[in-house]
Symmetry: D2
């Protein structure tokens, strides 16, 4: 009989040579934090989740129990103080991101942080400066880049399959609106929802947006309008390489999570349709019926969340640049602010109007 | 033995009672004129194509022979002078449309005319006034309204299947650019190509565009740019009912004629994919391959051209309003001019800036 | 002004040189006869439909009027006696096919005949002998060979795209059963319905069936059983080249005309799905709904009927072998008889048991 | 700070009341055993994998390390002897299944065993008797029943969506043949591969096969033929409820794992297409290309393997009958033996000829 070691699975999977496990602390055990905790505990080879923290002891302990984490704290500083911990995963509310990143960087921890880094651009710049000064890695949670659909589109575009890209179109519609309390502190739909698409267009066609025009409206829920936000939008885009595009957003697609992109170019076009739970087609006298798209972000994007966390652990292990950087997050934020300005001022806006460093 | 009558098929198809055949003259026997002639001769019940006209005797006679038409003229006035002819189908070049419509109206003929009526809005207004004064019918050739795909989308939207429309998206890409000579006299891509989409959005969601913003560029062929036109465009739209939308155009989709629409609403979404010549899927070690979309407008839209001509003959026979009116054509032209202005002035434009009667 | 000639469209379409029009007489103006008459009159270049015949004068005259045919007879011999007529199209009931073919052959007419030639194999052999002796062409109405879907599958298989064929599967389901009176004189489902599939498997994989096993049952309508027939079947097949296959039939698919095939081979697989009237997909909270398949043979197979008639006229004009021969019809009949025997005797049957000439 | 417990995630997830964790030992750490170990360790709430066993110490220890299992043995009896272990999962080679099940039953362990229980029917009966006598649960590894596609088809059929089932068709093709050594001891393709489909048809339409006719051949690899087996088959089926069906098998589909079913009935039809890694469609001038099906059983069926193991743990926890019983396994084996006999004797065979208890 042999007593098996305590390493997480896969720690020794890297070909012949052994790779050191990365010790991780996770801060914030809300819905998305618990999901990341489970992935780090059970599905990310090479990660060892040593501690979780939440202001609520009950939430922290429940997450720890669920994911077999040895320690649960109410003070996240306990994680930052632990010299055995190499990396932190920040899943707290947006208004705390900047501060915790700065403290984690000062403590020499590598950092994964959910998007957005902050609603304020100047604050983002402070954060990025702190990270740069500390020399730690910062990866931001644009998980969709790790989805097999969007990744494949990028591969095909980057591989020249469709020639020079001319037009990109993104459809990004939530299955249902967030709670009004969330809407109030979200920074607005462009900063909360469309920001994913602003990152995605850059990812897909590897060119920067030079001008955008945003149409927005309240079509889904008048309360969202009363909270000062919109729930429906169309954004027209122009890119540095001459390409054009549009983004189409809604807070409520009653048929599920609508997540599609299409890139058209000089030699062809690549598009993705929605992912579904099964491929059944049922034909009756009333029509041919197939399954609805996967309904909510957890079922739709689980694989991409696992892949992004694996990529984060791998970039720490192998000392590589993170696949989604702080600069990526900053640019998407600039675009979101430009969209808000365009919507308010009813005119096309250049991102360089928002960010004087881009001029 | 019985000598069968000379009537075209279907003249007596209308239930029990007999319907008088409509005698038609066709003016202009270029590519699209010859196609309409074949349809009128062989595939439109109740139509009797009595004469065709073209400045070239050879072209007129060849068309007449091909479609078993008893008379071929070089002067279209011969058609207008014939009191037996009830209706004319005008397929000449755009710059002659206005004049021929006016003459035909004066001669008391019902009129089908290919789009656009004229490149100049004031001239369109003169034409519409002449038609109104003569009390004849005028149907304009927005054939796509008669396509089974778009017709079905409209039915579903109008029937409330998707609730209130929030976002409409149209993809309209030609398989290859027109000749440069055509580009030069076409009035520009917005007036030649996008005009179909301007009509289509109105048809699909039954609301008028109140503002649009047009991005355009030359991505396909620099010669098109040198001729003063664009070949690629994205147009963002806002409608009177609050809905938003976008149109995506290219003069060259190398994979065929890309003709899709999607309407998203409060209770669902309806979309159409391209029509294909066959439904084969071939799976090999290299991938799963299916057929390209139908490549050119004749193969793609033949059924819609037949249906539009049947609708024209029927509206004359039954004295009903035409399904596509001169006003429809005028509005689409206003939108096209607004798009050109937006593209040139790089700002959102309201159609009412173009058409002071809309204010 | 020019008086246009009376030739059907396209008679002069063959490149530069002129091709003589083929004068045709059509015998039998039931549902399928009227359809062929319309095609010959309006949609088959090079055909000139001079006369139609039907025992009912009213039916003959109505068909003639509908398709602008100059002559309508109650005696088909009037067609056979006319020396100007080069070819006949036989659309009468099955029990008259053999006799009319023999008479037409004796009169030196080229022959297109709907399937089956006869329910009795010995009688088919007499007919084929008469045709051979007369030296006229005989094409049999397996129209599905001319459908774009099945034709494309054959091209891909014959072109080696899927390597050596290993397994073929055909789904052939009618939308609704024929009238019981038809069932009684049809020769049974294998001879009426499955015979299309017996022809199709040979067409698709270019190898002969050496053994088959047929399961049949009455699942749709007990009256069909009382009339001595079946309405549902599965037939397993083995081919000379080692391939295997199965056919799946029903007299009633409530969702429409189900017409699919799939061929699997050493290098891949090719399959076709059903053709549909439109490509809409409507997503609501209840599911994603698309259109039903085209419902009935006329809407589903019109293009293939036109193509088969064009091929017939072309083989007469150009003195080429017909694309579907009397031997093809004979082999499909032998297979149908073998299936009936297998079903009755509940054992695998070799076609050579039916046809001693195949041993 | 709190030291979190050692329980696997989810042990306390069952609503309000706590459910006891099930302690599991796994026997056989080959490819499929290691997969089940990972699932039991990380993805099956309520399971606690305490030990693994393999004749090779290295294999056992490597599996234990990978899945954080506290104990690894070379003698599986060590697992049976452990009174803390409630259930065993048997993943050894087929020839050892019967013996280990008997010993595990004698030790009072609940049992999950991979299929088939044994190649010999009499031996299966002994095993089932031993299990019955011991009063333990036995679940057999027909994992496909837990796949979302097939489960959904069954739900729709059982829910009456397609009315009475008339015809079922299964396509089951491996991406590549197993090693020849495996072929030699597998009992033949019907017992190794088709057995899944024999179980599936029963699962889908809830009726027993009363007669089958099996065609088989060697089309893929002559070595398989030399080893006394076949690699390609078509099996025709008749069911007690009158329905018919066919199964289509190949050991090599070069385009991936082809896993489809279709059930046709009096009110409709339900079919599933293959699952794919992404939904991209790339249109170029050469065609429209989409992704190949998932290629191998691990990527295709991981979710079903997890679901079957969850179902096993749940049936032990809640003392419910297993969702796939020993009798299910026995019936599928009888069908496989009947198929072999049909193939050898070239005639339809009734399962009751194999199993006299079924008469």
């Amino acid at each position: 009989m042999t007593r098996a070691g305590c390493l997480n699975q896969g720690a020794e999977r890297k070909g012949g040579h052994s790779v050191a496990a990365i010790n991780v602390g996770l801060i914030g055990t809300g819905r998305i934090g618990r999901m990341h905790a489970q992935h780090l505990a059970f599905r990310v080879p090479g990660a060892r989740l040593l501690a979780v923290a939440n202001r609520s002891a009950e939430a922290a302990e429940s997450c720890a129990a669920e994911s077999q984490v040895p320690a649960a704290f109410t003070e996240y500083q306990r994680i930052l103080d632990n010299p055995d911990i190499h990396a932190v995963v920040i899943c707290t509310s947006t208004d705390t991101h900047a501060r915790i990143i700065e403290e984690a960087a000062a403590a020499g921890k590598h950092i994964f942080c959910e998007k957005p880094l902050d609603l304020d651009l100047a604050r983002i710049d402070q954060v990025l400066a702190a990270v740069a000064k500390a020399g730690v890695k910062l990866q931001v949670g644009f998980n969709r880049r790790f989805d097999s659909n969007f990744r494949r589109v990028r591969e095909l575009v980057a591989g020249g399959e469709i020639g020079e890209p001319h037009i990109v179109h993104i459809i990004d519609r939530d299955p249902q609106p967030p709670p009004i309390e969330f809407v109030r502190c979200s920074g607005g739909m462009f900063l909360d929802l469309t920001i994913h698409d602003f990152d995605m267009v850059r990812y897909l066609i590897s060119s920067e947006v030079t001008e955008l025009y945003a149409l927005g409206g309240v079509m889904v829920d008048a309360d969202i309008g009363r909270a000062g936000d919109i729930d429906t939008a169309v954004v027209a885009l122009r890119f540095a390489n001459g390409a054009m595009g549009s983004i189409d957003n809604s807070r409520q697609a009653v048929y599920g999570y609508d997540q599609r992109v299409e890139v058209f170019g000089s030699k062809g076009m690549v598009a993705v349709s929605n992912k579904k739970p099964d491929t059944t087609e049922c034909s009756t006298s009333r029509g041919v019926q197939s399954a609805l798209p996967l309904h909510w972000f957890v079922e739709r994007y689980t694989d991409s969340y696992i892949a992004e966390m694996r990529a984060f652990i791998e970039c720490v292990q192998e000392d590589k640049p993170p696949p989604v950087t702080g600069l990526d997050a900053r640019i998407a934020s600039v675009m979101a602010h430009a969209a808000s300005k365009s919507h308010v001022e009813k005119r096309p806006v250049k991102p360089s109007e928002i960010d004087t460093t881009m001029r």
